[in-house]
């Protein structure tokens, strides 16, 4: 019988370099290390291979039928076929060992040779018709054995997986067993598929090189690269692409995924397709590099999208799980939250002062605006009529009800200034305290002020009604431009009476957010902003560089308070009143989670985080709960666990990505490249 090496006429690579009649050899170069993340997600990662191995297997089976018939009828197998089967057998072996944790790398999809578990099949020789005919019969017991061993391997994989999660590597014996079982399956398929004549045996020459070393802490990104390595894309190659190419690839992949995953579930919606193309248009090209007008393209585009939102809000589709797109009123609420988050960003993100009492600023702003634009201070004369009346630009005021009525636009500024003033007052004695004490003190103020609001209808038993107690102030004046401007220029006289009140409030909120955004950006790039960042990074060094600590910190507090106050006043107008039940500690934490999730100090991250969490708070959680309940048949009241969910979000962000979703520039550098100070004794090891 002639010997043939390297399968010259069989097409397979190293599979057939054994002399005829030799045993099947399994070559193992695995080092027992298993990355925990990939172990945990192994079933998910396996899915593409599970699909591809079946598709390929179908093709092989079809070819096998042809080959078998040809072997019986013509006495010989098509010459390409053994190599073809060998390739598939190899791939199947890789996939099988990958699935059962016998190997670590993500297999390539073409059965190529570089895999820690590989098989060497001796070349088949031409046989007679009877041999070809009886091959399936002889191979049938081996097939049964393969199925049986496959089940055992799955069970063992669970055990091995648990151990690997703890230790970061798999025990040698478990790995060897998995390799053996998978190898038996490979031999069976090779034998049945005419790729070799050696009968499957449960014995193989298994060697392992390199013991497991210490497993370093994996990055979440490693999971991506693990999977993408299978299609030949490594991290260095990815970074070698130009940014444009990278973004185009990402946009294309997102499109394909959406089409493939969500298309069948929810159908294809025209609005969704338009949204996708808008996204591609905004995301892929490098607008900022296209000349002076280029850097305005993105902001103008977003602004246009935002301003025209009321017109297309009704036509928008439903996002799976999260529910419908927010309507205009929810959008306005989201914008107010964005404003507050931007305000807190100045304190927490820029200056690094943990403020747990932001709700106090919201309360002060709301109550200032509400009490100075309503009948709160009307008082009562002996005859029951209103004692005080003062109108300065108020809209649609009823004189007989009395009270102080100041133009609400003016009040937005007044409320902001009042809050800033009170913020400075609060800050003066407390800002010299250390970080955690400051947090507690701000928390204390956040608790005191709502209590003042709640008990304010009888302040210190004097009968003076400052805040109207637990009912709050309920009938705030309308906001608007008054009748003169209405007739002359067509501006709405009183938002509350207008037909499209929701839209008007929405557009005004956009204007306020733009003003806040502008101030945030300019402050960040100003001398004051750099002083804040210096304080955040290292107070002592900042003080040594001449940064006046108390003044700078107080200013950050005051400016954060200002925005909080304006947002609070606008919110009061939106709700036409101020009620102490809305001012709870959880509100401060909600805004804090927005800032932290988005990225402390990064304005865009904070805006995104605020919008997302505000949506969750208003509608998203309820919708998600309903979706889960209808699809999984449970009876969870998801909004009840809202703050537990935020707690988990905070915990996960703090543990795995403290710089937030879109990190601020310095934080990104810090967390990627590390900070230079080393402790003397590492107590985290």
């Amino acid at each position: 019988m002639p010997e043939s090496f390297h399968g010259e006429h069989h097409g397979g690579e190293d599979t057939h370099d054994e002399p005829e009649g030799g045993p099947v050899r399994l070559v193992v170069t695995d080092d027992l290390r298993r990355e925990r993340l990939t172990v945990l997600f192994r079933p998910l990662l396996y899915i593409p291979h599970g699909v591809w191995v079946r598709l390929w297997g179908l093709a092989v089976f079809a070819g096998w039928l042809v080959a078998w018939v040809s072997g019986i009828a013509l006495g010989r197998i098509p010459s390409f076929f053994p190599g073809f089967v060998a390739r598939f057998v190899r791939y199947d072996l890789h996939v099988r060992t990958y699935r059962t944790l016998g190997a670590q790398p993500f297999p390539a999809f073409d059965g190529s040779s570089a895999y820690p578990v590989d098989v060497r099949l001796p070349n088949p020789q031409p046989r007679g018709r009877l041999d070809y005919f009886l091959r399936p019969v002889w191979g049938f017991p081996a097939l049964l054995g393969t199925i049986f061993l496959g089940i055992a391997a799955e069970l063992l994989a669970i055990v091995g997986g648990l151990i690997a999660l703890v230790l970061g590597r798999i025990p040698r014996d478990i790995r060897n067993i998995q390799v053996l079982f998978a190898g038996y399956g490979a031999q069976t398929f090779a034998y049945l598929g005419f790729a070799t004549d050696a009968y499957p045996q449960l014995a193989a020459d298994v060697s392992s090189s390199r013991e497991a070393g210490v497993v370093s802490r994996p990055r979440a990104a490693d999971l991506w690269w693990h999977g993408l390595g299978g299609i030949g894309l490594s991290e260095s190659r990815w970074h070698a692409f130009s940014p444009l190419k990278r973004r185009a690839i990402i946009a294309g992949t997102v499109g394909v995924l959406l089409l493939v995953i969500i298309g069948p579930l929810a159908g294809i919606d025209v609005a969704a397709v338009i949204t996708y193309f808008v996204f591609v248009f905004l995301y892929v090209p490098e607008w900022s590099k296209l000349g002076r007008a280029g850097k305005w393209v993105l902001p103008v585009a977003f602004l246009t999208l935002a301003v025209t939102f009321p017109y297309y809000a009704g036509k928008l589709y439903t996002i799976p799980i999260l529910g419908a797109f927010p309507d205009v009123h929810t959008g306005t609420v989201m914008l107010v939250y964005v404003m507050m988050a931007l305000g807190l960003n100045v304190v927490v993100g820029y200056a690094g002062l943990l403020d747990l009492g932001y709700v106090a600023f919201y309360a002060i702003g709301a109550y200032t605006a509400a009490s100075l634009a309503s009948t709160q201070f009307a008082g009562q004369t002996a005859s029951g009529k209103a004692a005080r009346f003062f109108n300065f630009g108020g809209v649609d005021i009823d004189k007989s009800l009395g009270g102080i009525h100041i133009n609400v636009w003016l009040l937005l500024v007044v409320a902001g200034l009042t809050t800033a003033g009170l913020g400075m007052l609060i800050g003066l004695p407390t800002l010299r305290l250390r970080g955690d004490y400051l947090a507690i003190v701000t928390l204390g103020f956040g608790e005191i002020l709502p209590q003042v609001a709640r008990n304010g209808n009888n302040l210190f038993n004097t009968g003076f009604n400052l805040t109207n107690g637990p009912q709050g102030i309920t009938s705030m004046d309308g906001i608007g431009f008054g009748s003169w401007l209405n007739t002359k220029v067509g501006l709405p006289a009183n938002y509350l009476n207008a037909a499209n009140a929701d839209n008007l409030f929405f557009w005004t909120a956009i204007v306020l957010v733009i003003i806040t955004l502008f101030c945030s950006l300019r402050l960040r790039d100003s001398r004051l902003g750099r002083a804040w960042i210096a304080i955040r990074e290292d107070e002592t060094a900042a003080a040594a560089m001449g940064v006046p600590l108390m003044r700078t910190k107080t200013l950050s507090y005051a400016i954060g308070a200002f925005f909080g106050g304006v947002a609070g006043a606008y919110f009061a107008e939106l709700n036409t009143g101020a009620n102490p039940d809305a001012f709870q500690f959880q509100f401060s934490v909600l805004i804090l989670v927005m800032v932290i999730l988005g990225g402390m100090g990064n304005v865009w991250g904070v805006m995104f985080g605020a919008a997302f969490l505000a949506y969750l708070d208003q509608a998203g959680l309820a919708n998600t709960g309903a979706w889960i309940n209808t699809h999984l048949g449970t009876n969870f009241d998801v909004p009840k666990y809202e703050f537990g969910i935020y707690g988990v979000i905070l915990l996960v962000v703090m543990l795995f990505r403290p710089q937030g979703l879109i990190p601020e520039k310095r934080h990104r550098l810090e967390f990627e490249q590390g900070v230079a100070d080393e402790p003397l004794y590492d107590v985290t090891a």
Binding site: G444, K640, G644, L650
Partner: protein, 363 residues
Amino acid sequence: MVTDARTGEQLRVRRVTGVNPVSAIGIALLVLLGIWLVVNLVKTPDVWFQAFLIGITRGAVYALIALGYTLVYGILELINFAHGDVFMLAGMISITMIGEVFGLKAGDAALTIWPAVLATLAIAMVACGLINATVERVAYKPLRGAPRLVPLITAIAASFILQNIAIWWKGPNYVVLNSGTGRSGAADFLPQGNIFTFGNSGYYSWPDLIVLLLTAPVLLALMWLVQRTRQGKAMRATAQDREAAAMMGIDVNRTISFTFLIAGALAGSAGLIYALYFTEVKFDQGFQLGLIAFTAAVLGGIGNLPGAVLGGLLIGLIQSFNNTLTWHAPGGDWTQSIVFAVLILILVFRPEGLLGERTPEGG
């Protein structure tokens, strides 16, 4: 008289005296407080003493919680926001054990009650110690080297998660110990009735004494643990200087975990006592009471164990005086604000607390 070293001539030195305006305000406030107390004492002495005794009782519970805060802060310089919620879970566990598992009710013999109560105490302490140690393992340990803000935020996150576990377990309403008509609101299987009365309306009931009787051994055990055992010495050493302690061969990680265990056990005992005395717990009470207890810890000097006890008693007294006294008392509505005002005032005027030592960073 002072001699100039260079020229040898005598210089007349004038001592500069004067009062720092900040401490002047502080002293003025204390004086006002003193006057208010004295006037109330003179006007309604029996109410005053009643308030005093109630204050001591409540103060004992606060002291136990404050000790937990202070232990953790002393060793890690971390304000464990989740501690109050561990206390709340202890209350719920205690109510479940006493009410449902042991099924104690009024009229049970003392031999049934006391072993059950002691068993619940042990279970609550162990369970809460384990909860606290788990929180430390999961949330605080990975962040040991992170900047100050990060563990603080994580503590808030842990607090909310524990609260939601309570909501999931027992629902958002009050969890009530099946209690009959105990007069002071305490569990009705405890001996009711007064030990002594005084004046028109003053009384001191058995449940009040039982609270003190349950608190005292726990405090003594803690003192013994911290002062007389090796682990206690390790805790004190790690609190003083972590790196030096590590160099001395102390397993710092284990000591920190052990501290959290002890703090959790303290919260567990406080939870049981609270459940016995107040008989109802709600999921958000832990946070509120935890903050009050933290104020107590700061008042006494954070990191200082006797200070925590003193602070707890003082805050309990402040609370009950505010609730009960009648002459110009702000009243129960303002108690929360007053406690926080005390916190702010302490941090402004005397950040090291009553028994603490002044450090350059202010406590």
